[in-house]
Amino acid sequence: MSAITRDEVAHLARLSRLALTDEELDHFAGQLDQIIAAVARVAEVATDDIPPSSHALPLTNVFRPDEVRPGLTPQQALDQAPAVEDDRFRVPRILGEEA
């Protein structure tokens, strides 16, 4: 049995905002199936009594003084934008036509 189906890969591509071609989906489905089957081994040793680690260092709530520092000017912030209008980022429509 395969670990992941082509339909599931197509769903992952949509969630990941990747407009993949049919050819790419075919290719990735096989590879992801192989990778997922291999990495699933972690479950063999992950028993209930082991606490998970999200991080290597025991750091929590790291603060620094809330001091005002110079930020980017609007010109610097917009300098690399794909499209600009009236000192703002111009983006494609976000809401549906009916909105």
């Binding site: 992952l12 972690v42 082991i50 290597a56 260092l57 794909p82």
Partner: protein, 498 residues
């Protein structure tokens, strides 16, 4: 060819500080060498000759004014193209960032400049540092100076190739699963993954934030220590930066003495399958050498390390799928398909499909899968538990020994194209390096000879506890000193001239 390019970074720093040679002369000699070897190795994505000469002139002027220069002032360095630089493009070797000019410098970049290092350009890498061969660069593959038909390792392959080819004495890299140590090993140079949090991630384009660690490349252990010291230390702009002094790495590199040290040989990394015979032979000889130099070696078992690779290929893609969501075609970078009819979401999906390469897409989808409800506990949750087990194995080991050793990589440099469409085979290149990323401790790779099958370099990995980075340099320098006496010079003198 100028003799200057054969000198160590420490020597070049001394020559510049004493005024025997100008920083401009040193920089020009390396720019000439880059022009000579770049057509063969393709290590750079951007060479900044004018900016480099300008930085060099500034160093010479500071000296002329009587300022005391630091140990690396006027020394040329190549910078991995994943650190932001205001005066050079920053691409992460991705089409999605082609031509991007960052509005700020990474902390590592800023500290290189403050140390007077001369940044000669940005080096090639696997796209967003995802890969082990530098073939995942969207722009071009880099070639191994030892054999131009082979990969230089990755992801920091451009930096490693540039140093091994004498194009620069120093380079920066980042190590998320082995991306400094593995290329250093297969190109016959020195590379360190510092303790996680010992070097700042501010301005480092994020791949897997709990693992990404900037570190140095050099042709010898002392030079690597000097660079390590130059850019490390606490950074308030990185919330995971450790607020503690930089371990005494330069002093340790000068000490170069292992007498009385207890050294553990990781059993699982010499008995497993997939290790090349010549790699294991050079490794065994290195362990014997350490004994001869006065260290005590014992075998140590770390049973959870067998699960490090699968855990890594769940944790790193999970963090990557979240980090790379920022490439949304709105504020910077590529935008595809914005014809006035398509929605932002459609433009986003078209842009990401066109701007990311296959390995990045694979990892984003793999991470999205591992974090999905219904799969989270079995995949990401289990991987996090394995991470705990690996840290416990290290903890137990370091109660018995001062450092651990293993081969850095299971094989020498493989051929270009050999593993490019076989992700699982590619991932095996990082088998021995991944545990230290998951546990956050320090590790270095130093050359320990050539494998007899292919005459290609083999790396010895030396692993130390968290904030024990100095031990890596102490042992590495002792091995280097003894081997160079045996070889009559550095391993790189065996490399073909380019």
């Amino acid at each position: 060819m100028s003799e200057l390019i054969r000198k160590t970074a420490a020597e070049l720093g001394r020559l510049v500080a004493s005024g025997e040679v100008s920083a401009v002369e040193v920089t020009q000699a390396h720019l000439d060498r880059i022009a000579e070897v770049e057509p063969k190795i393709d290590a750079f994505l951007h060479v900044a000759a004018d900016a480099a000469l300008e930085q060099a002139r500034a160093v010479d002027e500071r000296r002329a004014k009587g300022e005391r220069l630091g140990p690396l002032a006027g020394v040329p360095i190549a910078h991995k193209d994943i650190f932001t630089t205001v005066d050079m493009p920053t691409t992460a070797a991705s089409k999605i960032l082609e031509g991007w000019r960052p509005p700020y410098d990474a902390t590592v970049t800023r500290r290189l400049r403050e140390a007077g290092l001369v940044i000669v350009g940005k080096t090639n890498l696997d796209e967003f540092a995802m890969g082990s061969s530098t073939e995942n660069s969207a722009y071009k593959p880099t070639r191994n100076p030892w054999d131009l038909t082979r990969v230089p390792g990755g992801s920091s392959g451009g930096s490693a190739a540039a140093v091994a080819a004498y194009a620069v004495p120093l380079a920066t890299g980042t190590d998320t699963g082995g991306s400094i140590r593995q290329p250093a090993a297969v190109t016959g140079i020195v590379g360190t993954k510092p303790t996680y949090g010992g070097s700042s991630r501010y301005g480092l384009i994020a791949f897997a934030s709990s693992l990404d660690t900037p570190g140095p490349f050099a042709r010898n252990v002392l030079d690597a220590a000097l660079l390590h010291e130059a850019f490390s230390g606490h950074d308030p702009l990185d919330s995971t930066s450790i607020n503690a002094p930089v371990p005494p790495v330069v002093e340790a590199a000068r000490q170069a003495d292992v007498s009385g040290l207890r050294i553990g040989v990781i059993k699982e990394f010499v008995e497993g399958e997939g290790y090349q015979r010549g790699v294991l032979r050079r490794f065994t000889e290195a362990v014997e050498l350490l004994e001869k130099l006065g260290a005590k070696t014992i075998e140590i078992s770390c049973p959870s390390f067998a699960y490090a690779l699968p855990a890594y290929y769940l944790i790193a893609p999970s963090e990557c799928s979240s980090n790379l969501a920022r490439f949304d075609a709105m504020r910077y970078g590529l935008r595809i398909g914005d014809d006035g009819t398509r929605s932002a979401e459609e433009v986003m999906a078209l842009t990401r499909a066109a701007g990311f390469g296959p390995e990045v897409k694979r990892r984003i989808m793999l991470g999205t899968y591992a974090l999905s409800s219904g799969y989270y506990d079995a995949y990401y949750g289990s991987a996090q538990k394995v991470r705990t087990l690996i840290a416990r194995d290290f903890e137990a080991a370091f109660q018995q020994v001062d450092v651990l050793v293993s081969p850095t990589t299971p094989t020498t440099a493989f051929k270009l194209g050999e593993r490019v469409d076989d992700p699982m085979a590619m991932y095996l290149a990082d088998l021995c390096t991944i545990p230290s990323n998951l546990a956050g401790n320090a590790a270095i790779s130093v050359p320990c000879g050539l494998a007899e099958e292919d005459n290609l370099p083999v790396g010895l990995q030396i692993i130390a506890p968290v904030l024990g980075d100095d031990r890596c340099y102490r042992v590495g320098a002792a091995v280097e000193k003894a081997l160079e006496e045996r070889w009559g010079g550095p391993l790189l003198k065996e490399a073909p001239s380019l």
